[in-house]
């Protein structure tokens, strides 16, 4: 079933319909969509909208969708508009019309807000874990360096000698701050929009606190208008990620400088440094370029 069949007499222009879909990229939210849908189903049961049999059927169906997706290499669906539509379609295909009951009292606006918060939370934890290992590697190198010294630069001119370890620890400080910023972001992200409805709050008496608890959120969001339109947490995450990327970039730039013959402080590890492209390859590229030039002439 199309998501909004009923209200309109004319079908959507097929090209537009295909163009406006988000399933191609939001399918990576599937596991969060399933978790959030399960929490919503529990609240529907508590509100008396589902009986316990229906709840069990829906939860089993959702579980199955997750398992099927995990066993497949890529998710393809010619009709799914977005991840929410995909889950609903799959659920109805698996358990029949009861599947439609899952959408009672909720909106895609709160669903996507919830899925994205769950995604950001996982991404924060992953990046923090990765940043910690990066710092640990730098600290190991710092310990190995012992009391070896190097020049510290200001204005890229030799300024004062410092310990190599001291220099490495400067980067550790940057990456630890990045990890800290990500943790701050997690704290503000960790609230649950479920029960916000499309904008004004759910029309069914859903227990927002227990839905939040089920998804390990610290609590429900405070305002339904804000919760359905707020993307601060996305911005905060990507801004914190930008700073992390910026620090990595400064580090990379310094390593590139230090690996030049002019400095010679760093020997590039071969496992990460391809040899320059052999001339043969370059010739081929030149060749095809001249073909292209002729075609355009």
């Amino acid at each position: 079933m199309k998501m909004w069949a009923g209200r309109f007499r004319q079908p959507l222009d097929p090209e537009f319909e295909r163009w406006q879909r988000s399933f191609e990229f939001d399918k990576r939210l599937l596991s969060y969509e399933i978790a959030a849908s399960s929490a919503h189903a529990g609240a529907l049961r508590a509100a008396g909208i589902l009986n316990s049999e229906e709840l069990i059927t829906i939860l089993q169906g959702l579980n199955q969708i997750g398992e099927q997706a995990a066993s497949r290499e890529s998710l393809e669906d010619d009709e799914a508009e977005d991840v929410h539509h995909f889950v609903e379609k799959q659920l109805v295909a698996l358990i029949g019309e009861t599947g439609y009951k899952l959408h009672s009292g909720r909106s895609r606006n709160e669903q996507i807000a919830t899925d994205l918060r769950l995604y950001v939370r996982v991404a924060v934890d992953q990046l923090r874990a990765d940043a910690a290992e990066l710092c640990a590697a730098l600290v190991e190198r710092a310990e190995q360096a012992g009391t070896a010294a190097m020049p510290a630069y200001t204005h890229l001119q030799r300024a004062e000698p410092v310990l190599v370890a001291h220099w490495l620890l400067a980067y550790v400080e940057m990456f630890l701050r990045d990890a800290g910023r990500l943790a701050d972001c997690r704290e503000r992200t960790n609230l649950c929009p479920l029960g916000s409805g499309a904008v004004a709050g759910a029309t069914l008496p859903l227990d927002r606190r227990s839905m939040a608890e089920e998804l390990d959120f610290a609590g429900p969001t405070a305002n339904s208008i804000d919760a359905t339109s707020d993307r601060d947490f996305v911005l905060e995450f990507v801004t914190a990620a930008s700073l992390l990327a910026l620090h990595l970039s400064r580090w990379a730039e310094e390593m590139i400088l230090f690996s030049t013959q002019e400095f010679g402080f760093v020997h590039l590890p071969e496992a990460y440094s391809p040899a320059a492209a052999p001339c043969l390859k370059r010739r081929i590229r030149t060749c095809s370029n001249s073909h292209a030039a002729k075609r355009h002439a």
Binding site: S22, F25, N109, L116, Y119, V120, A123, Q126, A131, A132, L134, C135, A136, A137, E140, R141, A145, T147, A148, A149, R158, E160, P161, V162, L163, V164, H166, L169, L176, A179, A183, V199, T228, S229, R231, L235, V238, A241, S242, A245, L246, L248, S249, W251, A252, E253, M255, I256, S259, G264, F265, V266, L268, P269, A271, Y272, S273, P274, A275, A276
Partner: protein, 188 residues
């Protein structure tokens, strides 16, 4: 060019930073003009998020591997640390500790450096008589304060490069790293 080894991982790291910063910019611009509440524009906030997260999640372990694998040329670094008048600041500090006002101390050392440039040598290569011509305050112990070890040891404040301070910093940082590991583990 068969002699070349290119820093591809490093260059791509710089490139990925440009991309993630672009994602942040795209998000700001996408949301800055939206009236409340949900608008379909918000669909466009998903891909920059995924792109930024996934770019970094795939990059960080590679950088960690690179850091473990890289070979540092301590000899060359040490050599560079010993030349180019990098003990000039320590020399000025020596004078300050003997009561010379800081500004004058810097002038005196500046003159000594000038002399070295004429003679194409380093501060420690100047003879005591030559130094005393600049000012009587120089003494034999001036030379020991110019050695790399003492120059490093001079910076003996928390956060400074004196070896004992750096050892302490390594211990502190280890604790902070472990705290992150524990917290992330608790969330998993």
């Amino acid at each position: 060019m068969p002699q070349k080894k290119n820093p591809d991982l490093l260059e791509l790291t710089r490139g990925k930073a440009a991309r993630v910063i672009g994602d942040a910019t795209a998000l700001m611009v996408a949301t800055k003009g939206l009236p409340l509440a949900y608008n379909k524009d918000l669909q466009e906030t998903q891909e920059p998020l995924f792109d930024a997260a996934e770019s970094l999640i795939s990059l960080l372990p590679l950088v960690t591997g690179w850091i473990r694998a890289v070979e540092l040329n301590y000899e060359r670094m040490q050599q560079a640390a010993k030349s180019g008048f990098m003990n000039a600041f320590a020399a000025a500090t020596y004078l300050v500790k003997r009561g010379v006002p800081s500004r004058l101390a810097h002038q005196l050392v500046g003159k000594a450096v000038q002399l070295c440039l004429e003679k194409n040598c380093e501060l420690q290569d100047l003879k005591l008589e030559q130094l005393r011509e600049l000012g009587p305050v120089f003494d034999q112990d001036f030379y020991s304060c110019l050695q790399l070890d003492s120059v490093l040891a001079f910076h003996d404040v928390p956060g400074g490069t004196a070896p004992a301070r750096v050892r302490q910093a390594i211990a502190d940082v280890r604790q902070r790293i472990d705290a992150i590991r524990e917290k992330v583990h608790a969330h998993a």
